[in-house]
């Protein structure tokens, strides 16, 4: 295998792994947060504005870690510095 093929291969592998596994944590964390928000709403419906706002900020923070993974995947696939250097 020539050098560029190897780099392509590992880029593909890591692109898949980073997104495939890296979204597990956020998905579970968001599930937990949403579940807690719903329980909070059922317990204190009057505070729904505060609860919803806090939930959205929290989801955004958690989603950011999933975004990091997706960004790294996109960099590896479409803006890979080592692939560009070898071309």
């Amino acid at each position: 295998m020539d050098s560029m093929t190897i780099i392509a291969v590992v880029s593909i592998i890591m692109a898949g792994l980073t997104t495939g596994f890296g979204t597990m944590g956020p998905a579970l964390g968001e599930g937990k947060a949403v579940a807690s928000a719903l329980a909070a709403l059922a317990q204190q419906p009057d505070a729904s504005a505060t609860i919803t706002r806090t939930l959205f900020v929290g989801l955004a923070m958690i989603e950011s870690t999933a975004i990091y993974c997706f960004v790294v995947t996109m960099i590896l696939l479409f803006a890979n510095p080592f692939w560009t250097a070898g071309q």
Copy 2:
């Protein structure tokens, strides 16, 4: 094995892994969120509008991580930059 075959092979492998494992987290997270929503509905039926709306926003956020995985899989199968570069 020539270079393109290797790239095809790892693309197939990662396509399967990314979707196969990457949907575990969202599925479990959504299961948790739905379960919590149902418990909230049983406890406070009057707040069903708020609960349902919050649930759907939450499910959409969680589903987004599954979508990331599916998108990466589709890119690897049908718009693979390294495969195109080698053709």
Copy 3:
């Protein structure tokens, strides 16, 4: 092994893995959701309409991740772009 055989082999492997493991998460998540729905029904039978509707929407969302896996499996088996390209 010639190139097409390798592609066939990994396609078969990933077809099985994607469905075999990818349906674990949805199955467990749906089990959790259904279990919670039944507990909710026992606690608040009057809200059965809302509970059942919410459950079905949630199950559909969770089932969608299983569908993704099944779709990828079918693509790998019957519409594999790399297999077609090699024929």
Copy 4:
């Protein structure tokens, strides 16, 4: 090993793995759902009609993921496209 043997071998392996592991999730999920249904029946016997109906719909949804696995296994054993292509 000639190409067809390899394809046969991995088909057998994945047939077993897909069913053997893929039925774990549904079995556990159904166990959870049935357990919850029984607890619900003990708590609210009057709602047995609703509970039973919801349980059966839920079990059908969960069983569907097991069916996916079984279908993929049957395809790999008796309608394997790569095996047919090689004959």
Copy 5:
């Protein structure tokens, strides 16, 4: 090793694995369901008819996933299409 030996070997391996591991999930799921049924009986003895009937339907559903595994094992041992094709 000639081709038929390899096929025989992997058939034996998968036959054992499919049954050996595939029955774990159903066994645990059934244990959970039975445990829940007994707790329900202790709580609400008057509903024993409904509880028992629901339990048996549930056990049948769960057992079906164990049956899938056993069927695949039997197919691999006694009606293996690849073995028959090679004879």
Copy 6:
């Protein structure tokens, strides 16, 4: 190694694995069921007839998965179709 030796070797391996691991699930499931039955008896001694009967049916169902494993082990050791075919 000649072909028959290999078949013998994997038959021995799978015989042990199938029974050794396949009985874990039933043992744990039965332990859970029995534990629940005893708690139910302590809570509702008057329903001991129903509880005991339900327990035995449940244990029989769970034991059946252990029996599957044992049957496959016995088939592999004493009625192995591939061993017989090779003799």
Copy 7:
């Protein structure tokens, strides 16, 4: 290594594994059952006859899976059909 040595080696390996790991499940299951029995006795001393009887039947069922493992180990060590066939 000649054929008989290999068969002896894997027989020894599986003999140890089958008993060593196969007794984990029963031991844990029995521990759970006994623990539950003791809690039941503390809660309802008057039902000690029923509880003890049910416990012993349950322990016998669970022990049976440990016995399966021990039997397979003894067969592999002292009545191994493949070893006998090779002598």
Copy 8:
């Protein structure tokens, strides 16, 4: 390595593994049973005779699985049929 050395080696390995891992389950199971017995004694000191007797029967059953492991280890070390056959 000559045949007898290999048999000695795997016998030593399995002797250690069988006892080293096989005693984990019983130790944990007995710990659970003893812990439950102590809680039962604290709750119902008057039933100490019944509790102690049931505990000892239970511990004996659980210990039996550890004994199986120890017996297999001793057979492998001092009465190994394959070692004897090869001498």
Copy 9:
């Protein structure tokens, strides 16, 4: 493979792994924190200012560990000292 290729390859691999796995912990930790904040809001709506402020400080601390991972990934991809040294 020449030296620079190897360095490129491991840089890609570690870039993906560091972000893919390193964001799991923060995502789960933030999910837990947000869930707890929502429960706290439901219990004590009057303290929402203090709760929200404490939550944001906590999320910032947890997010910092995800940032570390992302920084290391960016260093490996775009400011790799070993890659620069070899050019």
Copy 10:
């Protein structure tokens, strides 16, 4: 490596593994038993004689499984039958 070296090597390995891992179970089991005993003492100080006696019997039973591991280690190190046979 000559035969005796191999036997020495695996004896050392198994000696360490058997004690190193085999004492995990007993340590955890004893920790659970002692913890339960202390809770029982706090709840029912008057029954301290019975509780202490039962605890010591239980600890002795659990410790016995650790002793088995230590005995096998000592046999492997100082009374290894295969080492003696080879000298």
Copy 11:
């Protein structure tokens, strides 16, 4: 591969692993601490000064372990003694 390449390679690998995995523990620990702080605030808003101060000291302690990991990563990347020695 020459010596310096190998050292560069393992430095990159360990840099990623140390940060990628080493931040999991702190992230989860901080999540737990923050969650507990929020629950404490909801329960006792009057003690918010003490709670916040204790939380920040605790977070600093936990963050210190993440800092250790980050420091080791930076040393490996930019002040590697073995790399410097080889230049």
Copy 12:
């Protein structure tokens, strides 16, 4: 590698593993026991003499399993019978 080197190597490896992993169980078990003792003291300060005495006996029992590991490590490092035999 000559024979003595191999024996030295595996002795070092097992010395580290036996202590490194073998102390996990005791540490966790002792943590549980101490935690339970402190809870017991808080609940029943008057029984502190009995609780402390029982705790120390229990800690000694648990510590004994850590001592076994340490003893085996010391034997492997400083009184290794196979090393002595080879000198």
Copy 13:
């Protein structure tokens, strides 16, 4: 690879692993301790002096295990006896 390179390589690997994994335990343990301290403060604000002092002593003890890991890492990187001996 010459001897010094190998020693450098494993020193780097173990430096990263020791800190990367060795700080997980302390981080989780400290998180638990801090979480418990905050709950204690919320329950008994008057005892904040005692609680805070006990917490800091405990954190110091737990942090000491992280320090051990960091010290070993520093020894391996900057005061490695085997590296010095080989220079």
Copy 14:
């Protein structure tokens, strides 16, 4: 690799592993003990003398297992008998 290099290499590896993993158990155990002590202080501030004393004795016991690991690491690095023997 000459013999001394190998011994140095495994010594370094085990030094890191023993401390890196061996401190996990004590750290978690101490975290549990400290957490329990703080909860006990909040529940029974009057018994703070007894609780603190018992906590310190317990921490010392748990810390001892971490010390064992550290001692073995130091022996491997600075007083390695096999290294000394080979010099």
